[in-house]
């Protein structure tokens, strides 16, 4: 093979310079997101493993612990617990996107492709934003599959499609916020392996010391405020409420985020995005020059 130099197409001129607009930022991010989605399609293992864990959790909690955890307003009822549980599993699942984002970005930073991106006149941060967009799409797919599995073990939507959509919206927003934490982790470690562990380890205490699996009323007194102010708990309670999965006599703990879970969920997610996106973009720029 040779490089045929006779057919030289006249290359398009580089567009005129100028500041990078929000529009370009969005466009570049979508280009990078497409690239990451193509990669995910070609390495489907990661999506498959992303599904196995939440499905395992559904089965374990529903059938192993189910009958032994009491729900305020419903007592020790396995079927009530299964309904109660799903909000927690959904929320925990979306936060696992953190590890995927962390590993993906750590890998990109290690590979030569990052030099290509950095030598192009693209929006700063689009490499990271594109990755978080792709993870958001992946999270949405995983949520759909998980909802089907949950349906099979007896979980139901009781409050109509609109509030169910709002619940999925809150979950996706939380998952999206957590991918920015993942982005920062991915930029802070040297290998994708470290990024995966770094993206996961703290999720377990965070999701367990919350109202996800056990009502805070069942926890020792000193732990209750931690669980109730946990950003994660607000989303869990909000989606339970929106899906109509709370027992009729359920009374939320008397703290602000538990009394206004949907609003608290949105505020927490927005706050996380604001903080971690800023830190990650700044770190990306510093790490690369």
């Amino acid at each position: 093979m040779s490089i045929d130099t006779r057919r030289a197409p006249s290359p398009p001129p580089a567009p005129a310079g100028g500041r990078i607009t929000l529009r370009q930022n969005l466009r570049d991010s979508l280009v990078v997101a497409k690239r990451n989605l193509l990669r995910m399609l070609r390495i489907p293992e990661t999506v498959v493993f992303g599904l196995i864990q939440p499905i395992m959790f559904v089965v374990l909690f529903a059938y192993v612990f189910g009958g032994s955890i009491s729900i305020p307003g419903a007592g020790l009822s396995a079927s009530a617990y299964r309904e109660f549980l799903m909000g927690g599993i959904f929320a925990q699942t979306v936060t696992f996107a953190t590890a995927g984002a962390a590993a993906g970005i750590a890998e990109d930073m290690q590979k030569g492709i990052i030099d290509r991106f950095r030598s192009l006149p693209m929006a700063r941060g689009a490499v990271l934003t594109g990755r978080t967009f792709a993870d958001l799409a992946q999270t949405a797919v995983i949520l759909v599959v998980l909802a089907v599995v949950a349906f099979l073990v007896g979980w139901r939507i009781h409050d109509g499609p609109l509030s169910a959509l709002a619940a999925f919206g809150l979950l996706l927003l939380l998952g999206y916020a957590f991918t920015w934490i993942g982005a920062l982790i991915g930029l802070s470690v040297r290998t994708p392996e470290a990024a995966t562990s770094g993206g996961l380890v703290w999720l377990f205490p965070l999701t367990f010391i919350s109202v996800a699996f056990v009502p805070s009323e069942n926890m020792p007194g000193w732990l209750q405020p931690v669980a109730e102010w946990n950003p994660f708990s607000a989303t869990v309670l909000a989606v339970r409420d929106l899906f109509g999965n709370l027992p009729p006599d359920y009374r939320a703990p008397d703290v602000w985020p538990m009394q206004h879970p949907a609003l608290a969920s949105v505020l927490w997610s927005v706050l996380i995005i604001a903080i971690f996106r800023t830190l990650a973009v700044r770190k990306y720029q510093r790490a690369t020059g």
């Binding site: 040779s2 398009p12 990052i114 693209m122 020059g289």
Partner: protein, 372 residues
């Protein structure tokens, strides 16, 4: 007015290593600068600073009249980069890679797509265009990366060892392409380890070593400084090397260089074939057996020997150069430097006793270390 690529006093350190130690150059528009230097010289670091991938500790650089430190994004619109290691996405096809790069150069999607198709054809990757890049051979990846650097036709191009890994045919084709680009007004900075390549493509050559430009000029100027043709011979018997060296010192036009472990001696010889015959007669007269002898054009290594007094690759070499490298041996910058060539006439420290093959501390860049 500074040229299309302009650098002034660039310094970049990595811990103790001064990868760039005050580099200057000025490349007029539409010309090619060849950066020539051994492993670890600082070529890639220079390219990375100029392409905004790395921020210099001090110094100033402009590309297409734009400051790389303060106007990185404007610089990126004006450059194309093909780095030392192919920067392509393994899980994307060749076409998807090029399309993505086109879109990130802000071409409309349709134009990026058309351009990707053209480039695949042009780089003879059309057949492989819809396979993921991880199935590509080394040379194909290299070509895909080069294609990516040409998605738009930027006024300034950087190519870091562009022909490494290309077969002779593709290398030739790339040379043609480069000439075509330059004829069209592109300014190019290219790094290479091969004098021949720099010779062929570059208008000016800057020889880099230890982060400094130790010589610059056209290839003819450099070759003249390195003494033109070179006689190279391999002595059969290790013990006879000093005698052979004496002969070369007497007949040749400079201090002979030695690569101890291959028993290879070189000496500048502008006298050409006549001098070669003389050397052979003399060696024969003393019954010094040789495995190989010949006259050849100077190589990068010869340029290095004459400029620095040490070989690009082998520091056990004891050729004393004219030492005009501009490096002062007494400077303490924390970086280990190989010793400069010994004074002519001083006993040769690298002179091999039987079995000595010049082992020593090997630095990370593969060169043998010595105290500064």
């Amino acid at each position: 007015m500074p040229g299309a690529i302009y650098a002034e006093g660039l310094v970049k350190t990595f811990g103790d290593v001064r990868a760039l130690d005050g580099v200057d150059f000025d490349v007029p528009e539409g010309t090619v600068l060849g950066l020539l230097g051994p492993n670890g010289a600082g070529k890639t670091t220079a390219v990375r600073v100029l392409t905004t991938l790395l921020r210099a500790d001090s110094g100033r650089a402009e590309v297409a009249g734009l400051d790389v430190a303060t106007q990185p994004n404007e610089v990126r619109r004006a450059i194309g980069l093909s780095g030392q290691f192919a920067a392509v996405d393994d899980y994307l096809t060749g076409r998807e890679n090029l399309q993505m790069v086109g879109q990130l150069y802000q071409l409309p999607a349709r134009e990026a797509k058309a351009r990707a198709g053209d480039l695949l054809e042009r780089f003879n990757l059309a057949d492989a265009g819809d396979r993921t890049a991880r199935t590509y051979s080394g040379g194909m990846r290299r070509r895909l990366d080069l294609a990516a650097s040409l998605v738009v036709s930027p006024p300034v191009m950087f190519m870091d060892e562009p022909t490494t890994g290309l077969d002779p045919h593709n290398r030739q084709a790339l040379w043609e392409l480069i000439k075509e680009l330059v004829a069209g007004g592109t300014t190019l900075l290219l790094t290479t380890q091969y004098l021949e390549e720099a010779d062929h493509l570059a208008d000016t050559i800057a020889v880099v070593d230890h982060g400094q430009v130790i010589a610059r000029g056209t290839s003819d100027e450099l070759k003249t400084r390195s003494g033109g043709d070179v006689i190279e011979l391999v002595v059969h018997d290790r013990e006879r090397i000093p005698e052979a060296q004496d002969i070369l010192r007497r007949l040749g036009e400079g201090e002979p260089g030695l690569v101890a472990h291959t028993r290879r001696l070189t000496v500048p010889a502008t006298g050409g074939a006549k001098l070669l015959a003389e050397v052979i007669r003399e060696l024969d007269g003393r019954a010094i057996e040789i495995d190989d002898i010949g006259l050849r054009r100077p190589t990068l290594d010869d340029v290095f020997i004459s400029l620095t007094g040490h070989s690009a690759e082998f520091d056990e070499l004891n050729g004393a150069g004219n030492g005009n490298g501009g490096r002062d041996g007494g400077r303490d910058d924390g970086r280990e430097k190989p010793p400069r060539g010994p004074d002519p006439g001083r006993p040769d420290p690298g002179s091999p006793g039987p079995g000595r093959t010049g082992e020593g501390p090997v630095r990370d860049d593969g060169r043998e270390g010595g105290a500064a």
